[in-house]
Amino acid sequence: MNQHLSGLPAWLVQRLSAVYLALFVLLALLWWWLARPNDYAAWHALFASLPVSIAVGMFVLALLLHAWVGMRNILLDYLGYRPGLRLAMLSLLGASLLAMGVWALRILTGVWTGVLA
């Protein structure tokens, strides 16, 4: 297997996702300041629009990748050489990020299908 998301690729993914996350957050803050939706219909219509759901979907993906690289770096630094514990913690981290990704996907698609229990 190749070095998936470690070394240079991980560093690059962390930086590229950081740029997108930063741009997204700064633009979102600006938009919130200038034209925030003030009722449910406007809030719902916002996430029902295709450009916004694409941008938010990319934000979620970038966030998950960014969190993976950052949390992985921290775990590798502080766990020391304990392969079993390391595997367990990295699996837990990956599973938690995947679960949150699926959750976010359900929210984004649920806006269209109307199923958001």
């Binding site: 297997m1 190749n2 070095q3 998936h4 470690s6 930086r15 950081a18 740029v19 996350l21 930063a22 957050v25 009722d39 449910y40 809030w43 719902h44 996430f47 966030l63 969190a67 950052g70 949390m71 992985r72 921290i74 590798l76 020391g80 050489y81 392969p83 390391r86 595997l87 990295l90 949150m100 959750w103 976010a104 929210i107 649920g110 806006v111 958001l116 229990a117």
Partner: protein, 133 residues
């Protein structure tokens, strides 16, 4: 291996120094560790954001409910802290991106930018507390 295992490290004890009372970090180190801590805290808060997002979009009732939660002071305080961590993380990250581009790499400039950020960050917190509370 895909998970970052390095067999050359096997059996060799790694140096570790985690005595919090005896660690005296330079200002750049302080910014670095706070960058990490704010990242971890934000990761841990993600389920809360997702839950609020989901309920605000469910129906008009859920939207009103979330607004009610957001108006209650415990959640307001939490959101102010979370926004602070996020902005601290973002600003420290922008500094690192500049360092990557060879901007401000010298020790003096790096110390100055780290000091500026560590002062700016509490100001951001006060501003956020003013907005939320």
């Amino acid at each position: 291996m895909g998970l970052g295992f390095d067999n050359s490290m096997q059996g060799r004890p790694r140096p570790r120094f985690l005595s919090l009372y005896r660690i005296h970090l330079p200002i750049t180190g302080l910014l670095s560790i706070s960058h990490r801590i704010s990242g971890v805290l934000f990761y841990l808060s993600l389920p809360l954001w997702l839950w609020l997002w989901q309920h605000s979009l469910r129906d008009a009732e859920g939207y009103a409910q979330v607004q009610e939660y957001l108006a209650a002071w415990p959640l307001r305080l939490l959101l102010a802290l979370l926004s602070w961590w996020l902005l601290h993380h973002l600003l420290a990250g922008l500094r690192i991106l500049l360092l990557d581009m060879d901007i401000g790499v010298g020790l003096r400039q790096a110390r100055a930018s780290a000091t500026a950020l560590m002062w700016l960050s509490p100001c951001v917190l006060l501003l956020l507390l003013g907005v939320y509370l």
